[in-house]
Symmetry: C2
Subunit: 564 residues, 2 copies
Amino acid sequence: MKVIIIGGVAGGATAAARIRRLDEKAEIVILERSGFVSYANCGLPYYIGGVITDPEELTLQTPQGFWNRFRVDVRVRHEATAIDPAGKQVTVKNLETGEVTVEGYDKLLLAPGAAPTRPPLPGLDSPRLFSLRTVEDTFRIRSFVERNRPKTAVLAGGGFISLEMAENLAEMGVEVTILQRIPQLMNPLDYDMATFLHSHLRRKGMHLRLNTAVAGFRQEGETISALVEGGEAIPADLAILAIGVTPENALAKQAGLALGSRGGIVVNQRMETSVPDIYAVGDAVEIPHLVTGENTLISLAGPANKQGRVAADNICGGDSRYLGAQGSSVVKVCELTVAATGLNEKAAQAAGLSYEKIVLSPLSHAGYYPGGKLMTMKVLYEKGSQRLLGAQIVGHEGVDKRIDVLATAMQAGLPVTALKDLDLAYAPPYASAKDPVNLVGFMAENLEQGVVKQFHWEDVAGLPRDGSVTLLDARTPGEYSGGCAEGFVNVPLDELRDHLGEIAPGKPVYVMCQSGLRSYLACRILAQDGYDCYNFSGGYRFYESVLLDRWTRQNAYPCGVERP
Amino acid sequence: MKVIIIGGVAGGATAAARIRRLDEKAEIVILERSGFVSYANCGLPYYIGGVITDPEELTLQTPQGFWNRFRVDVRVRHEATAIDPAGKQVTVKNLETGEVTVEGYDKLLLAPGAAPTRPPLPGLDSPRLFSLRTVEDTFRIRSFVERNRPKTAVLAGGGFISLEMAENLAEMGVEVTILQRIPQLMNPLDYDMATFLHSHLRRKGMHLRLNTAVAGFRQEGETISALVEGGEAIPADLAILAIGVTPENALAKQAGLALGSRGGIVVNQRMETSVPDIYAVGDAVEIPHLVTGENTLISLAGPANKQGRVAADNICGGDSRYLGAQGSSVVKVCELTVAATGLNEKAAQAAGLSYEKIVLSPLSHAGYYPGGKLMTMKVLYEKGSQRLLGAQIVGHEGVDKRIDVLATAMQAGLPVTALKDLDLAYAPPYASAKDPVNLVGFMAENLEQGVVKQFHWEDVAGLPRDGSVTLLDARTPGEYSGGCAEGFVNVPLDELRDHLGEIAPGKPVYVMCQSGLRSYLACRILAQDGYDCYNFSGGYRFYESVLLDRWTRQNAYPCGVERP
């Protein structure tokens, strides 16, 4: 059996190694357009920033190493230019010599990945504008930075690569401006959760230009300017275009493979395309989203690796299935950890799901043990079924742990209330006896059993301030004086019982505190005294984060300085 | 409704707060024998070591604070001395005044906890011998340490409290000797996993006296000696007795409550005892082990807190259920993280379960991102059903995450092979694209599908060295020369294909490498060439750890120095 694999990074390299483990006799050829195979594409920004210092660390395997260990014939700088599915042949161009050959196959695996999206904008050919995909791109940016010592950089895009680049450039002392078309960074987050990231980056001195689409670039001398809609030009020494990725589907198209509505290659659970003996994996394929069941593009290394293994099994005559992904992701941005799994509110709404949301801000570990850090968690579940739909967490230590526990519970089909029963490992340096994940279960059970009702930050502006409802702030006077939501009257929780007589009977009561715990306790006191009572989800710290973000955004535009 | 709660720490305090949230009118009394309520019992060793510096951090709530917030009448230094279930009364002794009163109840909750086990040994009354349970014990040890500046300490016991005390004493410069009756520390681990902990502590300069039961203590002047069976006396400035805990069942016994075979109070899923209107939670009760279904004692804060909430719900007329625990635990010992969930081999054997085991040593995060640390993982699953039975991990960063993910998968009922499909969050600082938990799934699938067979360290000594089997070491010559298992011949993996002709046909081949990956690849090459082939589980690093531990133990005894 002869197998040709087009693309030798995550999915392709994994498949090659697995095929060899299953079939010592197969002839395996990897065609890789770039000069490197099996490289650590998620590590590239960290080489630019000097976190990873040895360029050899970026390449997990060399062609020679791959041959020695797996007898895989890796041909770097070789581009597949056409596929003939009927003749089972691939046309290959040697990018070093220009030589074109034709290579037959029994099985073909497409793992071409996704390319940085390049819309038809002016100035994309500027030598000071870079995209980041390959090891070559990395070396190019790194050598530009070493040679030119840029003081400023403008980054178009607010996703993983842009933010990892922003962090690495900022740590080298570069002043960073991030342009983002929509009002928030990091699409896996909802806007409210993203505000914690925004304020963190602003505190680090980054300039966020949200709601600002890039319209092109213009280089004049040693300055490249990002042009934004409206005519403004943002000058910098260096520009990065990282507004997203587009599946590489040109070969698949040419070969007549079925493509999905998002431009990705259509595959079944066996990672087979619409054409016999052609498989596809990785960023170029559309896979089922485990929560919605809809086909989607998920450009992440974890799914690509798993798909590569499944394709290899099937290429070797097995029957393995890839069921889909739920978009579990995490990213480090300037000491902040941002993680998500499943659907956020935007996605749940788009999927037409009826959901409830829970917001909390637990400590990463026991409060009495030093070093605990607050994290902000938001968990969505489906009304009625109590099915977990998704989670988002922004914080420091312990964020990656909780997102993985929630991802596991979600994928295993646990209802949200089952989270309260999870027997998680506790010791003061690692967690609390009631782990944040347990707390989500407790809170969901309270909501589901009607022990408490809640309201959200979107509701605050619309609450009547005409006396027809009571607005309470259950924090201490000191906390309250530092800032409160308009119209909310301070009655500290511990004094509430003594002031019940002063709260207008028969009117709904809306209660806020700092994180949502004391206001919940207040609601329980009030509800048992006959009040129709609502607890503010996430507390004032959540409300304030959204409010400050909006304020900063509105005030920052005229002068370009967004730091409050 | 009047509720009396006996014991105001984890389960009791949680229940009190929850009862108040559900019933604003209930009269709630907590009787707490010690002088403190709702204290952080898991934090006590860290106060002694100075990691927690403010004694107020140890008490999450004061009686006054509890009253202000929850209207709970906390009576510290009050001991319940008798229960009259028929008359629904508790006899209470005020330990300050000696006054004895009788208090009626509608509902009674027992949360008395477990006391440090004190077998009838000589010398337990020495003023230089301490146990650690309460805040008072903590202050006593702390003030002893401050006053006497001990240079040496001997700790009897090798569990959580002993090891946390050992860490905290060692960090203060105290030379620590740990006596443990059985051949290993940390019973939640199997012996082989514990050897990584042993060597770590020995490198830190601690003296481990394993297989050494304490027979008593003897104080002479300012020296206390631990007496061990055989007559040896181990002198120190300070001794700690922490050989385990025993459920506090005296009151329950007196009240005629049913006790289990392990001496714990029998409860149903509603946390009801055998006597109407008496509930019990925490370290004093027997609960079902989620894996075996057998009743067991689990002295951990997580289960106690969850039980307290369930009992409160039911006391207030609800219907909540506590289904059991699986013993998920984690402990920090001198920068090492030791974690476990479910059954280890000893427990699986005792439960009569037929299991398969997987050992691996993955990195905490992507190898190319700096700071990744090796961890050693062992996962057990049931043969046939593929049910996850338990996991143990020893390492550094990322250990607590993987144990919680495995605990969640286990509790959700995922079979071991489903671990390969888990969509976990990956970025270089947090994980690898194939997370260690995914790797367990891959390895289990390989075993289950017969892609590879394995052998274990227990099998190595019994392998014939008469030429009837072939023993291969697939590491590099450099690794091999640093130490190898007896009789294993070095054929580096990358040269194996060129030497296949030299391997005796028809004879079984046993292959070892450093971690188990290269030997797996070698097995695949050999198996496809017709050999009956076995991969060594865990690699030479696992084998070496066990071997060194045994060697150290045997050689250390004569001179008392255990560091190799």
